[in-house]
């Protein structure tokens, strides 16, 4: 198949009923919002690539259907003391090439992730790991520079996968090939057309997988993706656009699996750029965003306004206390601007046209800003251009959307911590916040952590380096005959649910 999509044999598409358990067989066709370009086990190019990676590779641990961290390749795992984490592997785990998984492979995998040259997505999460050692044939021990409460999340991250040392050292092209221990074997990726996986018969969980094959078809155009689902060209799609949620939920044959806790939009200010170095100006902008209206128009109500904490209450118990801290108040905003001597301010804003979940809320906040007497000069850029503009701080204000890296307030660091990826774009660094975040990461006691992070978020709401707009409802849609799929809850972003999916379609 040189460029044309792989056609699966008829027999693979057939579904066999299995009394007393999930059906066996069948091929799932999945319409993906982006074409995962880079198949490297340790580099995520977005949620789409995570779906693929989780089929071919396993991590040591994974999230279960309720967002709890459970074992994957590990048989046992946990802290042995404040600065030591121990993992014992399952026996008899085989790679797709037939070789057996060893602790060597695990150590190699983590060293690879921590190597700067890999540019691994989990790399920054492992910054507190001092050493990783295979103590015997089944046990691996991580030792830490200082206590790190967030470490289990790093282990469960979809890019913390275990690879075969032999395979990688043999010079395999990790960008174009996949070879892991996962329930599906990678067959072929044809850029822009399809990526195909078939069942791995020697998977260590003998029940799994139920499906014979999964075929991903990239469909970056929202409308095309939804249409493909509605016409049963595919069985399932990811990233249901807010504008089509109605069409999907109104269709009795379809199911929408989603959450409203994870992805969110924000407006960031380059805090060193006049007049945005003045907190009053930043606050004025934040107060002129009519969040309920943004939600209603941009996302057609599919989501939640964010007028308080960044972290959702589902894993940040303090969040409720901060609700209402950023009300829509154009009059107050006007007053603040006047005080700052910035009446009738013109706001150069950059955003991206590539994703409607970012572009639409940005558009929707414009009337509010105008009501506060501000003039918005909006520039929409294509994604990578936008990223370059934001990194180079070419515009003083940007409107973006993203999600926390994992389901714990420790992920705040990215946004408001001095070394955070997003904070860097804002030239933002605050000693007090940094101090709190460090404490939080070291602290194990839940109540104490709650206090610490509440404090940090409060301060962020005072300094307004960025202002959050709305949380979006994000989810996948599939026919009811696709069973066993759950949208990851509590921000436990993973795609392992696909491993356990089956089909009830018999035709």
């Amino acid at each position: 198949a040189c460029g044309n999509p792989v056609t699966l044999p008829e027999s693979m598409e057939a579904v066999r009923p299995n009394p007393g358990g999930p059906n066996r067989g069948g091929a799932l066709h999945f319409g993906l919002s982006t074409d995962p370009a880079n198949l490297d086990p340790h580099v995520s190019t977005g949620s789409a690539s995570d779906y693929l990676r989780q089929l071919a590779y396993n991590g040591l641990v994974q999230y279960d259907g309720s967002g709890e961290i459970v074992a994957d390749l590990a048989a046992e795992f946990g802290w042995t003391d404040e600065q030591t984490y121990k993992v014992r592997l399952r026996p008899d785990v085989r790679f797709h090439d037939g070789s057996t998984l060893t602790t060597e492979d695990v150590v190699f995998s983590f060293r690879r992730m921590m190597d700067e040259d890999t540019a691994a997505t989990s790399g920054p999460l492992l910054d507190q790991v001092a050493a990783i050692e295979a103590v015997d044939a089944t046990t691996v021990v991580f030792t830490f520079k200082q206590p790190d409460v967030a470490f289990p999340f790093a282990l469960a991250a979809p890019t913390s996968t275990i690879v075969s040392r032999k395979w990688i050292e043999s010079g395999a092209n990790t960008k174009t090939q996949m070879m892991g221990t996962g329930p599906f074997r990678f067959v072929e990726r044809i850029p822009g057309v399809s990526t195909t996986f078939v069942r791995f018969d020697d998977y260590f969980e003998p029940e799994l997988p139920y499906l014979n094959a999964i075929v991903f078809q990239p469909m970056s155009d929202d409308y095309a993706r939804v249409t493909a689902l509605r016409t049963a060209t595919v069985d399932m799609i990811d990233y249901v656009p807010a504008t089509h949620v109605g069409v999907i939920t109104g269709n009795p044959r379809l199911r929408f699996a989603s959450d409203k806790t994870f992805g969110f939009g924000f407006v960031g200010f380059v805090t060193s750029w006049r007049p945005f170095d003045d907190v009053r100006v930043r606050r004025a902008v934040a107060m002129s965003i009519n969040r309920p209206s943004v939600l209603d128009t941009a996302l057609l109500g599919n989501g939640r306004p964010m007028d308080g904490a960044l972290m959702p209450e589902i894993f940040a118990p303090y969040a409720r206390q901060l609700d209402g801290s950023m009300p829509y108040d154009p009059e107050q905003a006007k007053y603040l601007l006047k005080q700052a001597g910035q009446e009738g301010l013109t706001l150069p804003v950059v955003t991206t046209s590539s994703y409607s979940v970012i572009a639409r809320p940005t558009q929707a906040m414009l009337p509010g800003l105008r009501a506060a007497g501000m003039n918005v000069n909006l520039t929409q850029q294509e994604w990578l251009t936008f990223r370059a503009s934001v990194a180079a701080q070419t515009f003083p204000v940007h409107s973006w959307g993203t999600a926390p890296k994992f389901g714990d307030p420790a992920s705040l660091r990215d946004f408001i911590g001095g070394t955070g990826t997003f904070a860097k774009n804002l030239d933002f660094q605050d000693d007090k916040i940094d101090d709190l975040l460090d404490q939080g990461r070291r602290t194990a006691d839940p109540a104490l952590r709650n206090e610490i992070y509440l404090e940090a978020e409060k301060r962020a709401l005072e300094l307004v380096p960025m202002t959050y707009t709305v949380r979006r409802e994000q989810g996948e849609a599939h026919y009811h005959y696709v069973r066993g799929y759950e949208h990851p809850p509590k921000g436990a972003w993973t795609a392992t649910a696909l491993r356990r999916t089956w089909m009830e379609k018999t035709a």
Partner: protein, 314 residues
């Protein structure tokens, strides 16, 4: 003839060299970083910088430029910066798929357009002519993406006669392949069919007034034969030379059509590559497209020389 071919080929090659160089620089002028695309959203700027270096993007521009040409002359279109796949692995099939759409659409619009144009011209100023003229202007006025979207909604979603099924290669499942071809081809053909109709009509109105058509009538030929052999045949000359222009437009329009119908042609490859600043892929696709356009023009010239004996002598 030989001399003509040699001249046209040299011209084509020079043109390709220019196109290639322009694409090389244009692609690199687009702000944004392929390293960022390769690493995804979450990567830190430091990681991106490292990857940039690994992709040799920090090397001097001119070196990259000459390297590109040297490799190209060795038949190496390069390797995708992002996916690590050789461009040659994907390009031929994708171009094939696009060409299939474009050529079919062209064939449909030529057959239908010439027939309709002939009807309109021979009934000039009668109601059927007015209807056809109005129809063709309407066809030209319809934006491709509106036609595509509506066709998709009506025939795939609301009355699913022609659902956009999974892409099936013509070798594996010819019938399914034809089925999925219909909507994109119709979408593409709609506008160019209208153009061909108009062209044919205009050219035929001209030839119908030509002296040699009067001569043909004076010979006592049957009217049908007068029209077919004398008026239509000569009217094909401008239609052929316009066809080459139309083909370029069609190749452009496939970008929209392939997006709307999820057709695995070269546009999705290109759009992806542009989105990821995957320079080798961008260069290869645009060069390929330009080669096609240049070849088509060449063929068009040859066809004209073949059907117009006058062309030979100047």
């Amino acid at each position: 003839m030989r001399r003509f071919l040699v001249r046209r080929f040299t011209q084509a090659i020079v043109q390709l060299l220019l196109v290639g160089s322009i694409v090389f620089f244009l692609a690199r002028l687009i702000p944004g970083d392929p390293a960022r695309a390769a690493l995804g959203d979450a990567a830190t700027e430091e990681q991106v910088a490292l990857t940039r270096a690994a992709m040799h993007l920090d090397e001097p521009f001119l070196g990259q430029f000459f390297g590109f040409w040297v490799r190209l002359f060795q038949g190496d279109l390069g390797t995708s910066l992002i996916s690590g796949r050789a461009v040659m692995q994907d390009l031929p099939a994708r171009i094939g798929n696009s060409l299939e759409l474009v050529l079919l659409a062209l064939a449909v619009s030529l057959v239908a357009g010439i027939a309709l144009g002939r009807i309109a011209a021979t009934r000039a100023d009668k109601p059927s002519d007015h209807a056809l003229v109005a129809g063709s202007i309407f066809g030209i006025s319809l934006p491709v993406f509106v036609v595509g979207t509506l066709l998709l909604l009506v025939f795939a979603v609301l009355i699913p006669i022609l659902p956009p099924r999974r892409f099936a290669s013509p070798l594996d499942d010819p019938i399914a392949h034809l089925q999925i071809l219909v909507l994109p081809v119709v979408t593409l053909a709609a506008a160019s069919c209208a153009v061909v109709t108009r062209m044919t009509r205009a050219a035929m109105l001209e030839t119908l007034n030509a002296d040699y058509v009067r001569t043909a009538r004076a010979k006592g030929l049957v009217e049908k034969r007068v029209i077919k052999r004398h008026a239509l045949r000569t009217a094909m000359l401008p239609v052929v030379s316009m066809t080459t222009v139309e083909l370029t437009t069609l190749i452009g329009s496939t970008v929209l059509v392939e997006t709307i119908f999820g057709w695995p042609g070269m546009s999705s490859l290109l759009m992806n590559a542009v989105g990821q600043r995957d320079y080798p892929v961008i260069q290869a696709v645009v060069l390929a497209a330009a080669t096609i356009v240049i070849l088509v023009n060449l063929v068009g010239d040859l066809v004209i020389r073949a059907i117009d004996p006058r062309a030979e002598d100047n």
